[in-house]
């Protein structure tokens, strides 16, 4: 379970993020904020729908059509944000036993697979949007055009692509020089570290996602223990 290999580089400070990295990070934060806001709005719209329908005989016209099209906002916009924070689940059984260069090679491999499939999906989902845009497509009930929601897929995946490219470069550098600081790259967590991250999420007590450029999960796990 132990992953001591991370301890050494973790404590030294990471180099300042590149301009591209900061721009992508900013875009990710903004998009996730939009996704978050859309969830709040969906909730309010649904409350309006129930209240309107049951008390005033005035349901929101085309509520299902609206909800479905709006879902693309929270289903996709945060996808790169989630990748940056290592939020897409994976199995760390084997990864957790690897150290140093081999570990970083495995991370390179993992990101490469995602890069390949995401590149293909950007292309494919763009055509899905293009068909809706050129031939026309609208929803079943109140005929909302579907292209605005379809275009969100290639758009969000493109931001993810940028994030993956940045991670690819960073992991490659780590392969060449495993003593480099790992910065805010997602890395394997043992169960205790994973738990620490879950605890932070449960209490919403860190807003590192929005501000700090270099969250340090190991330290925050330790801080967690001291705090509690």
């Amino acid at each position: 379970m132990a992953t001591p290999q991370l301890d050494a580089p973790q404590t030294s400070s990471a180099p300042p993020a590149s301009l591209v990295d900061r721009a992508v990070t900013l875009a990710e934060n903004l998009l996730n904020l939009i996704a978050a806001t859309s969830i709040l709005l969906l909730m309010l719209l649904a409350v309006a729908q129930v209240v309107g329908r049951n008390l005033f005989n005035a349901p929101v016209p085309g509520f299902i059509d609206i909800t479905e099209q709006a879902m693309a906002v929270f289903a996709f916009l945060g996808v790169a944000f989630c990748q940056r924070l290592g939020g897409h689940i994976r199995m760390e059984l084997v990864l957790g036993t690897l150290k140093g260069r081999v570990l970083w090679l495995a991370e390179v491999f993992g990101v490469l697979i995602i890069l390949i499939v995401v590149s293909a999906l950007i292309y494919g989902s763009y055509f899905h949007f293009e068909r809706a845009w050129e031939f026309g497509d609208s929803t079943i009930d109140i005929s909302i055009p579907t292209w605005p929601s379809k275009v969100l897929v290639p758009f969000a995946l493109s931001i993810l692509w940028l994030r993956l490219a940045l991670q690819m470069v960073a992991y490659c550098k780590l392969v060449l020089d495993p003593s480099r600081p790992i910065g805010d790259l997602p890395h394997t967590q043992n169960a205790a570290e994973h738990a620490a991250a879950e605890i932070e999420d449960a209490f919403l007590q860190t807003d590192m996602h929005l501000h700090s450029a270099q969250p340090e999960p190991h330290q925050s796990a330790a801080q967690q223990k001291q705090e509690a």
Binding site: A46, A75, F76, G78, I114, A195, F203, K225
Partner: protein, 455 residues
């Protein structure tokens, strides 16, 4: 090479990628894409085949995510994040303690009821354990409870959140197997209650025979009744979600939104600030996008499976086995228990169900089989619901088993002087309780299928 061979090969590849630690959603999408390319290439040559596969795969993220039934997910997730701010944890624990403390092991029993109550506003097991570790464990330790019991009851109680609605994992199951979301949610309720009762039984037994779990009394009726109003928002949410599922005056999405709205108002009343609301929303958005990505990623792979005919073949294989169907199902459940030790519950379900579920249904006699003609004595629809609850219960069981039982690590993480080994050891009786619960649910499927049959 036939489509079926490609299906097997790609499934092997997917397994390898997942074990190597490629993020599950993308590993599945990658394999599905490669597999579809291979199948189309056989028919129309490589280049056209690849483009057709890529364009086909490109339709899936949007078409599969933009589905009304899935819109319930963020509302359920949001309720859970806001519930902590609404101060519901403390209130629930306080009320349960005052009402149930006099029982043998009363504080632990109170904790089980409080976690069950919190489960009615939260769909996340680990988060439930985390918040109660902070509220309940220090008090239990103060009253002379053993560390192991105090920690274990919180770890185990947390697992109730996935059974008792709202539950994100039940929604995901319902969508994957194309069953009614409302029915799955209703189905989780009684098994949750059975789990609670079995936990209570085990606690009382341990309190009597092992000690380390004193009862605490001395609360007056006035004090008890005073503790009730604090839990009203929870009761409100339970009423909203249940009555809307039961009477159907609101869809699950609408019910989840109403519930979230009630908790939101309560949280604001308790002093939650706008900044905290947005933190909760950010977390909700992150978890939501993770789940959606997982769903469409795996559905790219499932689309490929449809072309390869693999689910049909697995169905044929399973039904041709010369063992009693119930034994095969138990073997499958055991396989889930092992898999769950190493994998996240949602990831595990999403990856395996497309192949396993049709096989289970075939074992019972088909999707449309009537209860009378079925092998297991359940209609096709009832069997789908039954299997979902059992599988989710199995997946939850893995949260309290070594080596990576997350709830135990979370409890230990929140409680500085309780080592995780102690939490695991303390969980042994609860593990036994859970196995007992699964056995009861297998023996008496009506506990699962009765409530949903009413709607």
């Amino acid at each position: 090479m036939t489509s079926f061979d490609i299906g097997l090969l790609m499934t092997g590849l997917l397994l390898v990628l997942v074990v190597l630690g490629v993020r599950v959603a993308f590993a599945a999408a990658f394999t599905g894409l490669v597999g579809m390319t291979a199948i189309f290439a056989m028919r129309m040559g490589f280049e056209r085949g690849a483009f057709t596969a890529i364009k086909m795969a490109g339709t899936i993220p949007h078409s599969k995510s933009v589905t009304y039934a899935l819109s319930v997910l963020p509302t359920f997730i949001l309720i859970g994040y806001l519930a902590y701010y609404a101060g519901l944890t403390k209130q629930l624990f306080d009320a349960s303690k005052k009402w149930l403390g006099w029982l043998p092991g009363g504080m632990a029993i109170g904790t089980v009821f409080a976690t069950a109550g919190f489960a009615a506003v939260s769909g996340a097991s680990t988060a439930t354990s985390a918040v109660f570790a902070r509220v309940a464990i220090p008090e239990m330790l103060e009253q002379g409870y053993s560390k192991r019991l105090a920690a274990a009851v919180v770890a185990a109680g947390g697992t109730l959140a996935s059974l008792i609605p709202p539950s994100a994992i039940l929604v995901i199951y319902a969508i994957l197997v194309e069953e009614s979301v409302g029915k799955l949610l209703m189905a989780g309720f009684l098994p949750g209650v059975v789990s609670v009762l079995i936990y209570v039984g085990i606690i009382m037994f341990m309190a009597k025979w092992q000690g380390g779990a004193p009862s605490i009394g001395g609360f007056s009726w006035a004090e008890r009744f005073k503790s009730v109003p604090g839990t009203l928002p929870i009761i409100g949410v339970i009423l909203i979600i249940f009555s809307s599922l039961y009477y159907g005056f609101a869809t699950p999405t609408e019910a989840g939104s109403l519930g979230a709205f009630v908790v939101l108002i309560t949280a604001f009343a308790k002093g939650m600030r706008l900044k905290q609301l947005f933190q909760a929303l950010h977390e909700t958005a992150k978890l939501t996008v993770m789940i959606f990505t997982l769903i469409w990623g795996v559905l790219v792979y499932v689309r490929f499976l449809g072309y390869a005919g693999l689910p049909e073949a697995f169905k044929g294989f399973i039904t041709s086995l010369d063992y009693p169907p119930m034994m095969i199902i138990v073997m499958i459940l055991l396989a889930y228990a092992v898999l769950g030790m190493f994998m996240d519950a949602i990831g595990m379900l999403v990856l395996t169900l497309p192949v396993v579920f049709p096989a289970i249904m075939a074992l019972n006699g088909g999707l449309d089989v009537s209860a009378v003609d079925s092998v297991l004595g359940m209609s096709g629809a009832a069997c789908a619901i039954w299997f979902g609850i059992i599988v989710v219960k199995m997946a939850e069981l893995c949260l309290i088993t070594p080596p990576i039982g997350l709830n135990c690590f979370v409890v230990s993480g929140v409680s500085p002087d309780i080592p995780v080994q102690d939490v695991f050891r303390g969980c042994t009786p609860f593990f036994v309780a859970d196995v007992l619960t699964v056995a009861v649910l297998v023996a008496f499927p009506a506990i699962i299928t009765w409530l949903p049959s009413l709607i």
